[in-house]
């Protein structure tokens, strides 16, 4: 036992040169937050590629009116699976991966509170997505009723139905374990002296996200369980003929679904609030108001769900309540955008790749926010509902929003993780290609939607051809541009021999505990917690003794 502990502490983890089987077993059995963070991020890259290929099938089919390459049934399988893969396989694991890597290093603890649960939470995911994606090879194909799984349509799914339900259950279990882990870690394992309001904002946004996950994922599990028993065990929760109500499903689903969209975006807010001050060389403007804004958004997210279903025939009072409650979210969100802009004001800005992505986030996410306000207007929503305007709206908040924040975060921290710099020229080229192509993809969809083009239909009126050609060109361009990023990151991870190493504080304007440990950080960091002085300014943590880590092993 002593020998084992000795080996781990001083020689790091098992490497490939120690043998293939021990190396594989290291990754399968690892409980180290950095290893699991890496696994989560690699898994999410793979899922982004899978989901991206599905979106290319959609865009290829929509390149022209009429039916070209796939039949409508397969088209609908692609829209359904694209959404599930991107949400549960791409964005959520990416943020859990970032939390795994960064939260312990930001709050000064050695690992997450529940390392074995952490391992379990990750390894559920490959099984969940094997279940989900294997449906493509079943007779009858995958689920095609839309990711929202509305009955009675979803109950007509064939053999894929139980696979869909159990895959969603597994994804939910994985998210809940991750969320519990992050919440427990943040609440119990902060370094001495780090009060809640001295935490980096990324830790704050993740704490709130964790609560949203714990509160809503079980509701989704309940809803899909009701679908399962409706189909196979004779219950009639959603069957009108049996005394149930299909609209009830929409209420239960969106009670989960609306907090879910904030689960996808709050950690992105945290990332951007970390990156902007670094490259503006100023502390974040209005730290406390940022924290309260995040908490307010999280609270409001629970009372606005029915704005997804304005057209089901709600009473006027309901329409008005959900309309005004939804518009209210613009207030805390406006506070955040104001604070980001105020952080930039008179800063000494430089435009490295992470900064470019973060700036694009602020601008493009706000566009998505504005189209969200338009959709919140109940009478107008009757025209927008289920059109490409909705598609344009949520892709603006999710791709140049959440995904750009994830990309920015990886560019920002990958020198810390690997000890070498990415190629800045390639990074900037990747940014400009991504920014141009993503707008080319989704901006025309606003107009197509306002003109009446429907979602989830493989064909459209000839009048929409130009908008769709632009969209498809943009989508293919965006997909190809991502290979620049993959090459750039792969260079940092696997081909770093003989390249200059970066210092502990990679970016001169960066603040926080993670920049006090060497780059790359040793396998175990902060086994003796650093002490955050009481006199210290909120969330900078520059006065912490940077040698804490070295001393403990001396």
């Amino acid at each position: 036992m002593t020998q084992d502990a000795h080996r781990h502490d001083h020689h790091g983890p098992v490497q490939l040169k120690d043998g293939v089987v021990p190396y594989l077993m290291r990754w399968i059995t690892t409980t180290n937050h950095k290893d699991l963070g890496t696994l989560y991020l690699l898994f999410s890259v793979f899922m982004f590629m899978v989901g991206g290929l599905m979106s290319l099938v959609i865009r290829a089919e929509l390149w022209g009116p009429g039916l070209q390459y796939v039949n409508p049934e397969f088209f609908n399988q692609m829209t359904t699976l694209h959404a599930l893969v991107m949400i549960f396989g791409g964005v959520m694991p990416a943020f859990v991966g970032l939390a795994n890597w960064m939260v312990p290093m930001m709050i000064g603890c050695s690992d997450l509170a529940l390392p074995r649960v952490n391992n379990w939470g990750f390894w559920i995911l490959p099984f969940a997505f094997t279940l989900l994606l294997s449906t493509l090879f079943l007779p009858g194909g995958g689920p095609a009723g839309g990711w929202t799984m509305y009955p009675p349509l979803v109950l007509q799914t064939g053999n894929a139905f139980p696979f869909l339900i159990f895959a969603v259950h597994l994804m939910g279990i994985s998210s809940i374990t991750g969320a519990i882990n992050v919440a427990v870690t943040i609440l119990n394992m902060r370094a001495p002296g780090m009060t809640l309001l001295k935490m980096p904002l990324f830790a704050w946004t993740w704490l709130v996200t964790a609560y949203l996950l714990i509160a809503t994922m079980p509701v989704l599990a309940g809803a899909v369980t009701m679908l399962l028993t409706d189909k196979y065990f004779g219950t009639r929760f959603f069957s009108a003929a049996g005394g149930g109500d299909p609209v009830l499903f929409q209420h239960v689903f969106w009670f989960f679904g609306h907090p879910e969209v904030y689960i996808l975006i709050l950690p992105a807010f945290g990332v951007v609030s970390t990156i902007l001050p670094t490259f503006a060389r100023k502390p974040l403007f209005g730290y406390d108001s940022m924290v309260y804004a995040v908490a307010s958004i999280a609270f409001l997210s629970f009372i606005v769900w029915a704005h997804h279903m304005f057209t089901v025939g709600m009473p006027l009072a309901g329409e008005l309540f959900f309309m005004f409650a939804t518009m209210l979210i613009a207030v805390p969100t406006g506070v955040k955008v104001f604070n980001w802009v105020a952080t930039l004001w008179r800063g000494s800005l430089t435009f490295e790749t992470p900064m470019l992505f973060a700036l694009a986030f602020v601008f493009l996410f706000t566009i998505g926010g504005f189209s969200g306000l338009m959709l919140a207007i109940a009478p107008a929503d009757f025209q927008y509902h289920d059109t490409y305007f909705v598609v344009a709206h949520f892709h603006y908040v999710l791709v140049p929003g959440a995904v750009f924040a994830i990309i920015a975060a990886v560019y920002y921290w990958i020198p810390k993780w690997t000890g070498v710099r990415y190629n800045e020229t390639l990074g900037q080229l990747h940014f400009w290609l991504s920014a141009v192509f993503i707008n080319l993809t989704f901006f025309p969809q606003h107009f197509a939607g306002l003109a009446g083009m429907q979602r989830r239909v493989p064909d459209y009126a000839i009048a929409f051809t130009d908008f769709n050609v632009w969209s498809s060109v943009g989508a293919f361009g965006f997909f190809v541009a991502q290979f620049l990023m993959l090459y750039n990151f792969a260079r940092c991870v696997w081909f770093r021999q003989g390249r200059p190493r970066v210092p502990a504080r990679v970016w001169e304007g960066a603040h926080g505990l993670e920049w006090t440990v060497p780059s790359p950080p040793p396998y175990h960091t902060f086994e003796i917690p650093p002490r955050v002085p009481e006199t210290e300014v909120t969330a900078t943590h520059d006065d912490v003794d940077p040698l804490t880590h070295v001393k403990q092993h001396a």
Binding site: I214, A221, A240, A241, V252, G313, M314, P315
Partner: protein, 159 residues
């Protein structure tokens, strides 16, 4: 929260039945409790809408499309349905009322939607609905739509 998901089911039923949201009131009343007090000064149009669910070939229609009624007075309208199958079948009609704020003022002493209807092979049935709009019906309501969706529940009943 998993339990909360399931708790939403009865909560939703209670809320809908209490307020009439979602047009959910069945209006089921005992005949003895319904006292006629016609308000001959006011006329409301009642429209009847029928839908057969899931592309089934059932014939299902009201004998009149619309009726001018006085609140506080009982009326009877017949609906006709025919089983298209060469075998016995069971059907259930699910009612809905629009606008939602009229739902709680509709009283029905008789409706084919109160229970499942058994049809012999190819049988045609005339089924009455006996209803009254209460005098307290909000003043802004001048049209009430009674919608019935017809479900063939033979398979469900066999399970």
């Amino acid at each position: 929260m998993f339990g909360f998901g399931f708790a939403l089911v009865p909560l939703y039923d209670v809320l809908c039945n209490w307020t009439g949201f979602n047009g959910r009131s069945s209006g089921m009343s005992v005949a003895a409790d319904v006292a006629e007090q016609p308000d001959n000064t006011r006329t409301v149009t009642v429209e009847f809408l029928t839908t057969v669910n899931g592309g089934q070939p059932w014939a299902f229609a009201p004998d009149v499309q619309r009726l001018e009624v006085h609140p506080g007075k009982l009326y009877t309208v017949n609906f006709t349905a025919q089983n298209p199958h060469d075998a016995a079948a069971m059907a259930q009609a699910v009612p809905s009322i629009a606008p939602w704020n009229a739902a709680r003022y509709l009283k029905k002493t008789e409706c084919f939607c109160f229970r499942q209807q058994v049809f012999a092979a190819l049988e045609e049935k005339h089924m009455p609905v006996r209803f009254m709009l209460e005098r307290e019906l909000p003043a802004e309501v001048d049209t009430v739509t009674l919608s019935y969706t017809f479900f063939d529940v033979t398979q469900l009943a066999l399970r």
